[in-house]
């Protein structure tokens, strides 16, 4: 046996040891299996990546957003200047902010496609209604985050778009005036407005968004992707039954009593 293949088998052993160690203490392998492997209907499989695309874009938002915070200053005097600095002086500033900006735009488009896919495939039906509701909450959160982010640029575009948006809010029955004063931090647009939009955009809503993403994914895993029961439930059951029998036969051949996979791992 050559040195390379020996090193390879040693590495494999070490990897197995680490995986086993983690599995015993944190159940990580079982969890990964649970979270990673999802039967997806064969028909239109690519359509089922839209949810993951949304998650990916939101992750990008978090990452680039955190990076932008290293230079952004939420004040009327400095907001525009700090973004000018990001765009002109900071290394890769244009790239980081560009990703933040464009992935925000794509995010809304992809969410729309994701919703359309769930809607037209009937994925919102029982027992998945709650996940649709959670998804709508996520959509609203993302829309408000997108809206509040626009104001932070504090340029003409951002300010006037924000004015228009807040004016639309001011037409809400009963709470219109309160909503707008809450957002502006007073009765005129000014320093309090930037601070509030910053707090809402950077802390309040992302903090609200994260647990809802968790709930969304948990409910998805609990019920599976819509359509899998039509094509897959039966086939999967057959597959698992066959694997179980094969394993059983193998251990019978070894002359050891069959004790199941998990118990065996414990014993090793």
């Amino acid at each position: 046996m050559g040195a390379i293949s020996k090193a390879r088998s040693q590495a494999a052993d070490a990897g197995k040891f680490v995986a086993d160690w983690l599995e015993h203490r944190a159940g990580i392998v079982t969890m990964m299996e649970h979270f990673l492997y999802e039967p997806v209907p064969k028909r239109g499989a690519w359509i089922y990546t839209l949810g993951s695309a949304t998650l990916f874009l939101i992750t990008l938002q978090f990452l680039t957003g955190i990076l932008l915070l290293f230079y952004y200053v939420p004040s009327t005097d400095h907001a525009w200047n700090s973004i000018y600095y990001i765009m002109n002086e900071a290394y890769f500033g244009t790239l980081i902010r560009g990703i933040h900006y464009w992935s925000a735009n794509f995010l809304l488009a992809v969410i729309g496609l994701h919703m359309a896919q769930v809607f037209f495939s009937g994925g919102y039906k029982a027992p998945r209604e709650l996940n649709w509701v959670v998804g709508v909450v996520l959509l609203l959160l993302v829309v408000i985050i997108a809206f509040t982010g626009y104001a932070l640029r504090w340029d003409q575009d951002g300010v006037w778009a924000t004015v228009v948006g807040m004016k639309i809010g001011s037409y809400s029955p009963f709470v219109g005036a309160y909503t707008i004063q809450f957002l502006m931090g007073g009765d005129t647009i000014g320093p309090a407005t930037v601070s509030r939009f910053f707090a809402i955009h950077v802390w309040l809503l992302p903090a609200a968004l994260a647990p809802f993403i968790g709930i969304h994914l948990y409910l998805l895993r609990r019920h599976g992707v819509f359509g899998d029961e039509m094509e897959y439930r039966e086939r999967l059951a057959k597959l698992q039954e066959r694997q179980r029998l094969e394993e059983y036969e193998q251990y019978e051949d070894d002359g050891e009593p069959y004790v199941g996979r998990r118990d065996r791992a414990d014993r090793d």
Partner: protein, 227 residues
């Protein structure tokens, strides 16, 4: 049904938890709610404004042409957070923030019997204003002057004056609201005409405004939303 409560709750427990829960709940929610809703309380309950209730100079009436509006920009000081009056006094040389409002001023235009436009520019203004003005002159100017907010009555975008062959009109760049030179509604989505500032003309032949709209009727002045 899933059983969440294992031990049955007595009446006394219920009342005790209820009262304690109310007190603790209030202690936990009132401070953060008031902290965040401060501006809403200030404006709606205490009737305060972020712009001090003063008169602010717009500009001289002598510069307003007879048939076209003239725009002035007024800088209203804004008392918010780090731009609050006391903070500025206490702090170092932090300049106060301002909200710049464009004010469109024009002489009232009326349609005569034969359909011709009559511009109500006072004759003493046309021949060159000589301050100080007399009370009669001030009254005449006040009666014939439009002092309009540039903020569109629809969603608040700044309107601009578009010159046309037979005069012109105010056009909102956002959704195409159109107003005449008096700020009256002509077309588009706005629900009403342009807002007029509460204004006065003083002896020095200048216009002064407050940061509020004179919406007429018995409703009194209204704080401008947003701008």
């Amino acid at each position: 049904m899933a059983e969440l409560q294992k031990d049955p709750m007595t009446r006394g427990d219920f009342l005790g938890f209820g009262i304690l829960g109310t007190i603790v709940g209030a202690l936990l929610t009132i401070p953060p709610a008031a902290f965040v809703l401060g501006p809403v309380i200030d404006v709606n309950v205490r009737g305060e404004s972020d712009v001090p209730d003063d008169w602010y100079r717009v500009g001289p009436i002598g510069e307003i042409p007879a048939k076209e509006p003239k725009v002035y920009v007024v800088e209203f000081p804004v008392n918010q957070v780090y731009s609050e009056e006391q903070v500025i006094e206490e702090g170092v040389e932090t300049p106060g923030a301002t909200i710049d409002n464009a004010v469109w001023t024009s002489w009232r235009e009326e349609i005569g019997e034969n359909g011709e436009a009559i511009h109500r520019i006072p004759s003493f203004v046309e021949s060159g204003v000589q301050p100080p003005l007399t009370q009669e002159q001030i009254d005449e100017v006040t009666a014939n002057l439009n002092v309009l907010s540039s903020s569109c009555a629809h969603l608040g975008c700044p309107v601009r004056w578009i010159v046309k062959e037979d005069g012109g009109e105010f056009l909102c760049p956002c959704h195409g609201g159109i107003y005449d030179i008096n700020g009256g509604y002509v077309g588009g989505p706005p629900p009403r005409g342009m807002y007029s500032f509460t204004f006065e003309v003083r002896e020095d032949a200048n216009i002064y405004v407050k940061h509020e709209f004179d919406i007429g009727g018995d409703k009194g002045p209204q704080q401008p939303y947003v701008i």
